[in-house]
Amino acid sequence: MKDKHREAYREEAYELLAELEESLLALEQDPEDEELIGRVFRALHTIKGSGAMFGFEDIVAFTHEVETVFDQVRNGQVPVTKALVDLSLAARDEIRAMLDGGAPEDSLKKQEIMAAFRGLIPEAEMTAGPGPDPSPAGEETLGAGTPVTYRIRFRPAADIFLTGTNPLSLLHELRQLGEFNVVAQTEAIPFLTDINPEHCYTAWDIFLTTSRGLDAIADVFIFVADDSGLDIQVIDDGSGSAEDYKKLGEILVARGDLDESSLKRYLAQGPLIGEALLQEGLVSCDKVQSALVEQRHVRTVQRKKQEAEGAASLRVPAAKLDKLVDLVGELVTVQARLSQTAIDCNDPHLTSIAEEVERLTCDLRDNALNMRMLPIGTIFSKFQRLVRDLSAELGRKVDLITEGAETELDKTVLERLNDPLVHLLRNSIDHGIEPPEVRLQAGKPGHGKIRLTARHAGAQVIIQVQDDGGGLDHETIKAKAVQMGWLTPETEISDKELFNFIMSPGFSTAKEITSVSGRGVGMDVVKKAIEALQGSIEIDSQPGVGTAITIKLPLTLAIIEGLLVTIDHDFFVVPLSVVTECVELTREDVARAHGHKIAKVRDEIVPYVHLRERFDIEGRPPAIEQIVITEMNGNKVGLVVDQVIGEQQTVIKSLGRVYRSAAGISGATLLGDGTVALILDALQLVQGQQAGELIN
């Protein structure tokens, strides 16, 4: 049981560390931002606080040092510098290592970081030492962890102006502590004939939500508390929800502005208690106003808190979701069988049930797949750090701009996308963005920009990595391609085709090998990884302007829309995302092409792959075959089959180990009657055909 909790803590801590990293990087850009400082502090505080509960003593002791410094930063005693951010990022990495269990108990690095943090604190400010806070847990929670809402009733002495204190500055100080609302109580202001203009007749009801604790509030009133009326009450400890906060009448009763029996009497009269109380003059307008503001304040704070928590309201292990999607996949297959049986039986009752099941299965499938969708921003945030560290290492100045972080992708796709994107970003920094002096000479700003964007386009997600660097060098690439024997120097070749060479295995034009790139592995690995995700990759580049790499990916890999086709008695599925149209292929068409595998589709020449030949299927093809025309990376290629049956919900099943290396097949699926259909990997089929032609 304890392990389960420790695991839950780890997961939460990983999220907090990601937030910590993000906040630190933002803080580096804007060192004065108090909200960011607060976020850093809160993340550290929670890591430490929860760590103590689950027995991560090493993390507690270590984080304590960092937290202490950020407490000082919060109080304006320690400034935010690049050195502090660097140190804090190193500390973040160390905490991560401790969480993973990879850091030795007393590693030198850990000791150095701790010492460095201690060195940042002035001697007098040093606390009792590392370890959990000595204060009891409850006090700690109320004191500086969870935000608590207070009602502060402040009635200054009449002569407060004469003591040189301006009540407005007290209110300003309180406003700095957190979410703040105030209602002036003006009942005591006399008529103009009786007023002493230098006296204070106003009192205030203040509503403040803060995690800074009672002491911080009391500090604001330290010089006026003796002569003033001051009452501070906790009205919400942060545990309630927005809907169940007190009603207006209950607030007035709780404050002692209305007695319980009067409330009951008014409640019996009708719902608009505020109006009724005012009309009767039982409670003053100021008090009703104050109660209303209290209600609004608490509800707003609670709603904000719920919204913040809403994003991660339920934590489910990913494996359970994967299992759910598997089961839904099975269900989709069974549903297809049911529909088929209903058609075969020609029974209207069964047909109606089958249709209902089909509708529900469809909804269930969409919902189950949606649950596995994660915003791409979860991996974007890691890249900020990568770009920062790499550009420093390579002496570049690079800003990473991300857009579309909210774009969602299937968890599996997202996990496998991380490495290719890291490669692309590394390439952009190492090969793309020029050193600052070169950029300035070229009339560009010294800071390079890399834009990492994601957006939805139909059932696909388009991800682009675009830099404003030097662009790809046509001549160097061509020379290298010639050197590798892929081209003759005379070959005329389009930019797009030329750029594709850089994704071939063994291609690198880097003059020196760095730790980052230049070893000729990278782009081919990226291409393979993207293709393994059923995606495609395109390069566009202009000399001196920059390079853009566009990746197109399917939203999910679990269930796809497919086009079911047959060759002889065998069934195949072509992913619908690559299909553009289907046309007929007659024997005359074949004869007209004089042995070349090309078809003329509306004046356009389209090469095709004859699948019956490709898969060595025996038997005679029908007189009229069908060409399924696919489009990948801007090129059209046909796949010739006997018959096109129609669209098919395809639950992808991976092939067994023995068949995994079969070229041109990416998986299999079960049809309604239990028959197996192979899912075609159109890209591989086309590439295979091209390779075959080259050999011939």
Binding site: F161, N166, P167, L168, L171, H172, R175, N181, V182, V183, A184, T186, E187, I189, P190, F191, L192, T193, I195, P197, E198, C200, Y201, T202, W204, D205, I206, L278, G281, S284, C285, D286, V288, Q289, L292
Partner: protein
């Protein structure tokens, strides 16, 4: 601070400008008191106001209460300078409804302060 009065035509306009703060509160008090004694309808303008504090809010509130009690009418003109709006908001004077003394439903803290 200055507060100029126009001739005794109705409504009488009181033009407040400069610092409406505790240092000038005695003088501000006198201007409002005299104006309310001499006119039945008052319009207060704020063009050129550079600062305002609690003492002035209390005087305005008091003047309005006095006007209502003596069956006179006091109204605040727009536009209102940012410093004045900020002071009213920060001191918590804004109201959804007028107080029990506001029998004319003309509470000065209800509108025009956002």
């Amino acid at each position: 601070m200055k507060g100029k009065k126009k001739a005794l035509t109705e409504p009488q306009i009181i033009k407040f400008a400069g610092d409406l703060t505790i240092e000038n509160s005695q003088e501000l008090h006198k201007i409002l008191l005299t104006a309310l004694n001499n006119a039945n309808q008052l319009l207060v303008t704020f063009e050129g106001v550079t600062a305002a504090d609690l003492s002035f809010m209390q005087l305005l509130c008091s003047a309005h209460r006095t006007a209502v009690r003596t069956d006179k009418h006091l109204e605040l003109a727009s536009p209102r300078p940012g410093v004045l709006k900020a002071a009213v908001q920060e001191l918590g004077f804004i109201r959804d409804k007028g107080c029990v003394l506001d029998t004319q439903a003309s509470c000065i803290w209800k509108e025009g302060w956002e």
